[in-house]
């Protein structure tokens, strides 16, 4: 009997305040657990608006300590209560003035497993992230959770194939890509890049995008979160482009082995030939 991981992602709209946003996510975790989901990943900067549409230091207040801040503690207790692995994309303050775009990973027994800090930070119209975040250097952690080996690659990171590969080499079976991405020029890439990464690295990808237009700008976040398998096939349907939605899907890990046995990308890659890629 092959191992099937029931995995979930959650997309939602900004409610207008941090506490109600946290409560919406707590309820989503309960709803996912009620369905037997073993792991759930939230959207990028899950308890806030996507404040990078503006450059305003008032939003530094959204940053919290990881793992010692109250939100991580709160969701550790919830993960333990529900027996579900939680991935929490948050605004992290390491110390005043040292801030990161981070995802904390909580195991199903509530223990804190570690974090991934977003590596590639954009600074373009509507996505002024360099104002808020230092680039992370997390060495591509893969977390050995109760639901399997999990990696995280945040939003803009997805445009860079190297990180996807590093997570694959580190043994990731599922990589979550929590995002905040809006309609416009790149919308067509949303269903192209992650499936391509899933094939190139022969693992499952869960892509999450928030929904709605928020008060801070015109970005129209188009949701359409999904899971894609190592053959670039969507697992079930892609979520709504407007509504809050919990996406729960069964990921059959036998597919990962089957695809890797068929397409030997890890065997046939040629790292010796890639030296120019790491030249400064």
């Amino acid at each position: 009997m092959s191992r099937v991981v029931r995995a979930a992602v959650f997309q939602t709209a900004w409610t207008g305040d941090k506490e109600s946003m946290i409560q919406v996510h707590e309820q989503a975790a309960r709803d996912a657990a009620a369905q037997g989901a073993q792991v759930l990943c939230f959207q990028e900067l899950f308890y806030g608006p996507y404040f990078c549409q503006v450059q305003d230091k008032a939003f530094y207040e959204y940053a919290e300590q990881i793992p010692d801040g109250p939100i991580v503690k709160r969701f550790q207790a919830l993960a333990k209560e529900l027996g579900i692995v939680l991935i929490l994309p948050m605004y992290e303050e390491e110390q005043p003035g040292v801030l990161y775009n981070t995802a904390a990973v909580i195991d199903a027994d509530g223990s804190y497993l570690g974090k991934y800090r977003k590596t590639h930070i954009p600074q373009v119209e509507g996505f002024w992230e360099k104002f808020y975040f230092r680039p992370g250097h997390s060495d591509w952690p893969v977390f050995d959770t109760a639901a399997g080996k999990i990696g995280v690659y945040i939003c803009y990171d997805r445009h860079f194939p190297e990180g996807w590969r590093a997570l694959g080499l580190a043994g990731a079976e599922i990589v979550f890509n929590p995002s905040a991405t809006s309609r416009g020029l790149s919308a067509y890439l949303w269903q192209l890049e992650q499936p391509a990464a899933a094939v190139a690295n022969e693992y499952f990808v869960g892509a999450i995008n928030r929904v709605g237009v928020e008060e801070l700008g015109d970005n129209d976040f188009y949701g359409t979160s999904y899971f894609v398998d190592p053959e670039a096939q969507f697992v079930g349907e892609v979520a709504s482009d407007k509504d809050t939605e919990l996406v729960v899907r069964d990921l059959d890990m036998a597919k990962l082995r089957e695809v890797r046995d068929r397409w030997q990308f890890y065997r046939d890659r040629a790292p010796g030939a890639y030296t120019p890629l790491t030249a400064p």
Binding site: F10, A37, L192, Q233
Partner: protein
């Protein structure tokens, strides 16, 4: 290099090969002396040109006819003439032998071969005007045919839209022109509507999972897709599945169809409405039993409902708002279809993985639905076989109807099942039975007939008296009458019906008759 050998000529053009096969051209004894591998190149126009710098007069796709009178004697000019044609992306060159060249000039032949340009010589030259007339008229006829097809399809579809035709009628029209299955999907690749020959559509839907889940998409093999959207937003997609005609015509049909659907949506439809119509027609077909459940399986799968190794729970919600029910399904991450049925009932068909607690999750859904209100959610027992789903939907509908007859003060669970509606459910089920109908008439005859001396309130009083378990003070209270007044009415009822209300069996009999009477009217 341009590879044209495997590409069929677009519908509005002729290929070099087709032109060479025309009767009038064959009479000129054409011989291909270079570029034989490129004869499927499309010819957009035929042009006669003698000048050495011919290229400046062309815009691409032309077949150029020449006698070579200005080229004779100068090998360099001959070579440059061919290169100039190639730079201008001419489709082919035809040289009439006799006036300037008795035989194909080797320099031109070599140059044409190097460029991959078809070069044809006519051993029996004839007036070029005849050839241009022949080809030009054929090209114009083809273009005209395409324009008229486009116009005919557009007129038909616009006509349908202005008369308020439903979505299905538009798709049927498109399928009528394309002679292949036509499928409308939303952005999540969910099939919203189909048209075309039923068995061909079913064949496509059977494989839909594989086709739809592929990221990107392949336009080959007659699968022609047109995006549906407007105001910078894409809503869905129209797909011609396995169109057998030429790609250009298929593209034209798909584009006209997509335009019509955009217009249809802008004039009142919504994608949500399309989605609901799709679920509605599926669930209606399921309940009606006109189509065996098994045959509806591909449609259910294509509509986004997981059906393999699943447990199904049919629900019926009274006064439910279908879009709201859909939003709650998505919020909870549950798989299901929502559709409005007749008489203010909405059906929800939930699909769970076998290891999930179907009852608990259905109750979870009902609880979320009941937040801030109290719509009645009637549920059938979970079904593990798809073939049992129609009976399940009927059961849920039956429960919902029985609940509608239940007094408002009766305590019911959040999710009402058959067992919760008890006798009322049974009577509802049997309401159309002639024996039950005549039983109710017989039992209540004295009150139903009325009569000049009767009190019109007697039937409601009897109903309340029996529903309260023959509690006289409660009945008097509910009818705002004094107890002596109530006694008089009960005595009148006993006299009219010839019964003793203190006798349990007689009272029970009247109670059942009243339930049957109410169910028949409901």
């Amino acid at each position: 290099m341009t590879v044209t050998t495997a590409v069929p000529a677009p519908e509005t053009a002729l290929s070099v090969r087709q032109i060479l096969a025309l009767e009038r051209v064959v009479a000129g004894e054409p011989e291909v002396v270079a570029g034989a591998g490129q004869l499927d190149r499309p010819v957009r126009w035929v042009h006669v040109a003698e000048a050495a710098d011919v290229g400046v007069m062309l815009s691409g796709g032309e077949m150029v006819l020449t006698t070579g009178v200005l080229l004779a004697g100068d090998v360099r000019i001959q070579t440059e003439y061919i290169r100039s044609l190639d730079r201008a992306e001419a489709a082919a060159v035809v040289l009439g032998l006799g006036r300037a060249f008795p035989a194909p000039p080797e320099s031109m032949r070599r140059a044409a071969e190097r460029c991959g340009m078809p070069m044809v010589v006519l051993h029996r030259p004839f007036p070029f005007a005849e050839l241009t007339e022949e080809v030009q008229s054929r090209l114009v006829r083809r273009k005209f045919a395409a324009v008229s097809l486009s116009e005919a399809v557009r007129t038909a579809l616009t006509g349908l839209i202005t008369t308020g035709a439903p979505l299905q009628r538009l798709l049927d029209e498109i399928a009528g022109h394309s002679a292949c299955p036509v499928i409308l999907t939303n952005l999540a690749h969910r099939v919203l509507a189909t048209a075309g020959e039923r068995s061909a559509v079913d064949d496509v839907l059977r494989d839909w999972e594989r086709i739809a889940r592929q990221a990107g998409g392949n336009e080959g093999d007659g699968w022609i897709r047109a995006d549906i959207g407007g105001r910078g937003e894409q809503w869905g997609r129209l797909v011609l599945c396995g169109y057998r005609g030429d790609i250009e015509t298929g593209r034209l049909l798909a584009d006209r169809g997509a335009e019509a659907l955009v217009l249809h949506r802008m004039l009142g439809g919504t994608v949500a409405a399309w989605e609901e119509q799709s679920a509605q027609s599926l669930l209606t077909d399921l309940v009606s039993g006109v189509v065996p459940a098994r045959q509806l399986l591909p449609r259910a799968r294509a509509a986004g409902l997981p059906v393999n190794r699943r447990t199904f729970v049919p629900l019926v919600v009274r006064d439910g708002d279908a879009p709201q029910l859909g939003r709650i399904l998505r919020l909870l991450g549950l798989s299901g279809l929502v559709a409005e049925l007749a008489d203010g009932y909405t059906a929800v068909l939930l699909s769970f993985a076998r290891d999930q607690d179907a009852d608990a999750l259905a109750a979870h859904f009902a609880a979320r639905l009941c937040t801030g209100g109290r719509p009645v959610v009637a549920a059938a027992a979970p079904r593990t076989a798809w073939d049992d789903v129609p009976a399940g939907v009927s059961e849920a509908l039956h429960v919902a109807e029985a609940v509608a007859d239940t007094p408002a003060d009766q305590d019911l669970p959040m999710l009402v099942r058959l067992r919760d509606v008890r006798l009322r459910g049974l009577v509802r089920l049997l309401r159309d039975d002639p024996h039950v109908q005549s039983f109710a008439e017989r039992e209540l005859d004295g009150l139903l007939c009325g009569g000049g001396d009767g009190d019109p309130d007697l039937l409601p009083v009897l109903r309340t008296y029996l529903a309260t378990g023959r509690n006289k003070s409660r009945t008097a209270q509910l009818h705002h009458v004094s107890r002596p007044a109530l006694y008089r009415r009960l005595e009148a009822i006993e006299a009219r019906l010839g019964v003793d209300l203190d006798d349990f069996e007689q009272a029970a009999s009247l109670h059942i008759a009243l339930l049957a009477h109410d169910a028949q009217r409901g």
